[in-house]
């Protein structure tokens, strides 16, 4: 260890990342030696300019929530309801199924489905001009998460952690809570060609958090003895390889793992919250318990410094029974989302936490199913919203056409969305690159425009 000055000098950033992952998804392991190397080689870890947001909470509403019944107010659609849809679209126009009202001081229009969220209207930035390239669930989900339909590419969370590093050495930088197994599955939080340390860590609200997090045989004290034995072996090996950063990394990995066994369950342990807080998130109610747990966990992870946190609520694919199912879905998510926003605000964290809500696409203005109470997939125009993290609150940005089928103004495609998220995090999306297979890859491929108009 005295020969630290003889340190391994990576010949390239890529080599450095490949061989030590003195990591950004995790943390710098290799002690002083690799910290020096990290400074020399891992230049992307850090923003390009002053960031507005330090972290992201992405609420993935899998299935394609109907924008027409939630966040995109279309009075014309109500007016023309029952009429034959124009163009080639099948079916008759289906009126918005829920009443819209102006909310907050800003008076942005939201439907009655989100009564609690409506109290935060002045923090919301509705994006009504969203569109994406594909109208099938798996493709559109993968595109939303990775920016690409045709190739296996790293998830946006992986890119962000690759770009910014992590803030907490005891926790992964990218966590996804209760992800869906289908519509791309692990590809949605995979690191593809980025080193594996940047992949999302899967956390379950039910099964005790993350894999292998506790011993079934040894108490902390006995396990410490076992780790001490392992470390004495590791240090013995270092005698012949004093400047090898990987061995230092193994030693660090055990120390961190040991701490994680306490810190991760502690962070994820919702029992640590008082009854009032648990009730605020709806943990005392069957309907809201699942998503409430996710949101509360997300808040705790955000407080602990995790960079990218994803929560997921599925079941937004309303081909039929739109009214009943939307009521159920919104009922399950409205309270927890509102609680999360209010907690973030109370802790003065909303200003640098970018909250993004949305699905892979939206739904058609035309009705579907015999009863006419469903809507088809619609990728040509839909809504997402953002809050905090440097976006303007109480803003309705962009629009769809008269009846809400196609994004008209303030159009935001997938690459634009990613470019804007990166921008808020202080990253120039054209400069966040990784060399693979002979060229530099980007999350935004070769396009993407920052939506400057929504930035506060």
């Amino acid at each position: 260890m005295t020969t630290c000055s003889n340190t391994f000098v990576p010949t390239s950033r890529r080599q450095f990342l490949q061989t030590t992952s003195a990591g950004f998804g995790w943390m710098a392991f290799a002690g002083l030696c690799s910290q020096q190397a990290a400074r020399a080689a891992a230049s992307p870890a850090g923003p390009h300019f002053a960031p507005k947001a330090k972290r992201v909470i992405f609420m993935f509403m899998q299935g394609g929530p109907s924008h027409l019944d939630t966040f995109d107010w279309k009075p014309e659609l109500a007016k023309h309801a029952g009429k034959k849809a124009s163009g080639d679209a099948k079916g008759n126009l289906l009126a918005p199924q829920f009443e819209f009202k102006p909310r907050g001081k800003s008076g942005i229009m939201m439907s009655s489905l989100f009564p609690n969220l409506a109290k935060h209207a002045d923090d919301l930035c509705l994006l009504n001009g969203m569109y994406t390239s594909n109208a099938a669930h798996p493709q559109a989900s993968i595109a939303l998460h990775t920016g690409s339909v045709n190739f296996v590419r790293p998830s946006m969370g992986s890119w962000i952690v690759y770009g910014l590093g992590t803030q907490n050495q005891d926790l992964p930088g990218f966590v996804t809570i209760n992800p869906t197994g289908n519509v791309g599955g692990a590809q949605n939080y995979g690191s593809a060609f980025l080193p594996a340390s940047f992949q999302g860590t899967r956390v379950e609200t039910a099964e005790g958090g993350i894999a292998n997090i506790r011993s079934h045989y040894l108490n902390a004290q006995s396990q410490r003895q076992q780790i001490d034995l392992i470390q004495s072996l590791n240090r013995g090996m270092k005698y012949d390889y004093p400047s090898n950063p990987e061995l230092e990394g193994v030693i660090e990995s055990y120390e961190l793992a040991y701490r994680m066994q306490t810190s991760v369950p502690a962070t994820l342990d919702l029992d640590k919250e008082d009854a009032a807080t648990r009730a605020k998130y709806g943990l005392d109610n069957k309907q809201t318990e699942n998503f409430g747990s996710q949101c509360l966990m997300a808040r705790r992870l955000a407080e602990a410094g995790v960079r990218f946190i994803q929560v997921t609520h599925g079941g937004w694919d309303q081909h039929n029974s739109l009214k009943a199912k939307l009521t159920a879905n919104c009922g399950a998510t409205d309270l927890p989302i509102a609680a999360l926003l209010s907690d973030l605000k109370e802790r003065d964290m909303l200003k640098d936490t970018l909250v993004v809500w949305g699905g892979e696409f939206g739904r058609s203005p035309e009705g579907q199913s015999a009863a006419g109470d469903g809507r088809r997939h619609n990728n040509k125009g839909y809504s997402m919203w953002m809050a905090g993290g440097g976006v303007k609150g109480g803003l309705r940005y962009g629009s769809t056409d008269e009846t809400g089928g196609t994004a008209a103004e303030g159009r935001i495609g997938t690459h634009d969305l990613h470019a804007t998220m990166l921008h808020l995090l202080g990253i120039d999306h054209t400069r966040l690159t990784y060399p693979f297979a002979g060229r530099d890859f980007r999350l935004t491929d070769v396009s993407g425009e920052v939506v400057k108009e929504i930035i506060a």
Partner: protein, 843 residues
Amino acid sequence: MTHSSVSHFHRFATLLAVAILPAASQGAEAISKENLAFFESKIRPLLAKHCYECHSEKAEKVKGGLLLDSADGIAKGGDSGDVIEPGDPGASLLMKSVRNPDPDEQMPPKNRLAETEIEALETWIRIGAPDPRKGGTTATASTKPNWTLEEGRKHWAFQPVTKPQPPAVKDTAWAKTDADKFVLAKIEAAKLKPAPDADRTTLIRRATYDLTGLPPTVEEMQAFIQDPSSDDDAFATVVDRLLKSPQFGERWGRHWLDVVRYADSVGRTRNVAFPYAWRYRDYVIESFNSDKPFNQFLTEQLAGDLMTASNATQRDAQVLGTGFLALGSMDLNERDSEQFFLDRVDDQLDTMGRAFMGLTTGCARCHDHKFDPISQTDYYAVAGIFGSTETLSGQKNRGGGGKDYFAPSKLVKLGVTETKVTPSVATSDKADRERLEHRLAELRKQKTEFQKKGSSASKKERKELDSQIASVGRKLRELDGSSGSKKKGKKAEEPTVSPDDKLAMGAQEGEVQDLKLRVRGEPDQHGDVVPRGFLQVLEWNKQPSLPKDASGRLELAAWLTDARHPLTARVAVNRIWQHLFGRGIVPTVDNFGATGEAPTHPELLDHLAASFTANGWSMKSMIRSLMLSHAYRISSKEIPANMEVDSSNNLFWRMNLRRLEVESIRDAMLAVSGTLNTEHPSTAPMGLDPKLDIGKAKKGGGSGDSFTAPIRSVYLPVLRSRLPGMFTVFDFAEPSQVIGQRDVTTVPPQALFFLNNEFVVNLARKTSERIAALPLANDEARVQHAYRLLFGRDATSDETKRALDYLAGTIQVSSGSKRGEPVDTWTTFVQALMGSAEFRYVM
């Protein structure tokens, strides 16, 4: 030369400036007030209304490479060339397009401009097309590469392989092989000395892992250490024994499976199992074990179905190689069949390019390669070869909500003698079938066009189309003679598969065709037809003409394995070197192009490549010769003086310390516990239901708990997006990419795995039971044995003492009541050894 959009006169005057400066929009100040007003009132709204949807930076998909939302964009023109000729409406493509009488050709499509609008455009062009709009043209930013073929050819990797003379070295006794001389000369030039020889204990562990992926047994170690022959002879005996063991192919075959993106499921949107991929996996293992010449190995993978075979056994052995072409990760749910077809071709071309040539040929799909001298035309020349091939992956592409992707008719039938099979269709029907399939594809395309474009086609027209599709589909099914045609119901049914059917993934000849270049890689943006061929930069005489009645895969393989091809042998030996020395001579093993790294030892690389081909492309001979080199047999320990000069070990002055791959870590745990079943499971990966969407399956994804099965890791199913946790935390090769070099990351989940995972605890327990059952006198002897078993060496006296202290210490083990098997301090001791760095590193 681009046209500036400024007035005709102005353009003339600034010709020189335009030639030097990039096209720039003209400031509004240079346009007369009248003209500006005309543009703003008549032209801008018109363009915005009718054209921006497809021809602006905000367009979802820019069509024809043309941007009409800035002066620069108009000046640049599109894929069809200049769009306006300022001052000359008659010569302007824009006017021809808006006046085109064919509603499908006219612009904007279907909605004809009003006559007044057309006239306004005409006037605008006549007055010189004044245009105040600024704005970038990023979407059409020049994709012109900065290479020429002539310059590009000079890149080191495109030079012919030479046969360099081994250099003179001072320490002539040190060099055991010619390769040693190349290595030593560079070390001596840096005024260094190579590391001392590794001792026999270190060496047998290194060699056994390198050749079999398993640790040596205690008996094997003993035999080598006690072998009275010379070091050279004793080690040669070990190497020869290992090369002959069936585990050799399991180890080296897996290296190749990384390169060819091997998996047992298709991944992506509809992650359906490949129930027959394992035959290709076994074919690869067998090819390494039988030391199949690499040129033959390559040819079989590209064209095994086209090679002559004297009997069914030989044909089977060859055709299995074409599984290589069918393993790609495809979006089975892709709605655009043309996109699917081109994505498939791209997967095959890109994998071929990187696996065999170390060239990122796939980069030229949408534009000329930015860095390497590979044009887009080159891409489509090679793509035509794969485009003339029918891929038999056992799955079909289905847009929409279809759920059944398994297609046994799209598999290779084994045990037959024809070189070309058309499963379940009589050969005489083939032409009919192809005709019908073609027709069906066309009809379906029309239908998707209708759906996509929101066409004005009437309901009646669409009904008509649907009934035509149904009718052609029916005829096809009748031709298939499948049971489905006799049953009622709409769906064409696939033949049922019995477990006895000998089926495999692979490829056969398809409709032979030259592909049209696709502008920016867009399926519907057609360029010129490109005759099939190879890369121009790698021409040693003129481009061969490919047969009219065959895809050209056989010729492609012949070209790749031609002695004059500068890449194939270099890339292959570099991969072998990497697996033995921890780093390639070219460190970027999959990229020998301009963005790859240059070889640290170019002469050595050429020497090896030349001997490789001279020795009949024998992989085992190459591996054996490298293992018997002195360079392989030196210590990996750091030497401060050498570290000062070359800490990265670019000179190979020591062996690199290497972490084991995840398979070896897992297999080693199984091996030391005595539970590893080294037999080759001769069946499909457990429980892979060909109809199951693994993405939707519950835990295990249809593979059950195969991870804990006591078989070698290479035989576990590789389910894309569903890899076992241990595989993802220990850097298993992402199975949808060409990965010639795995990452080595060190993250806390690895430590958590060793500390807490049930599988580890179980194997540690079995190992300690195994040690306890031996007739050993005391714990000291048992510790000694554990060290030999797990680390392949004796424990030092300090280590023994430390271990005995631990065993006698105050560890409290509580066997979780539900967890069954008892765990004791000894188990936790073995577990600690398994978790240590030494267990997972090869020194």
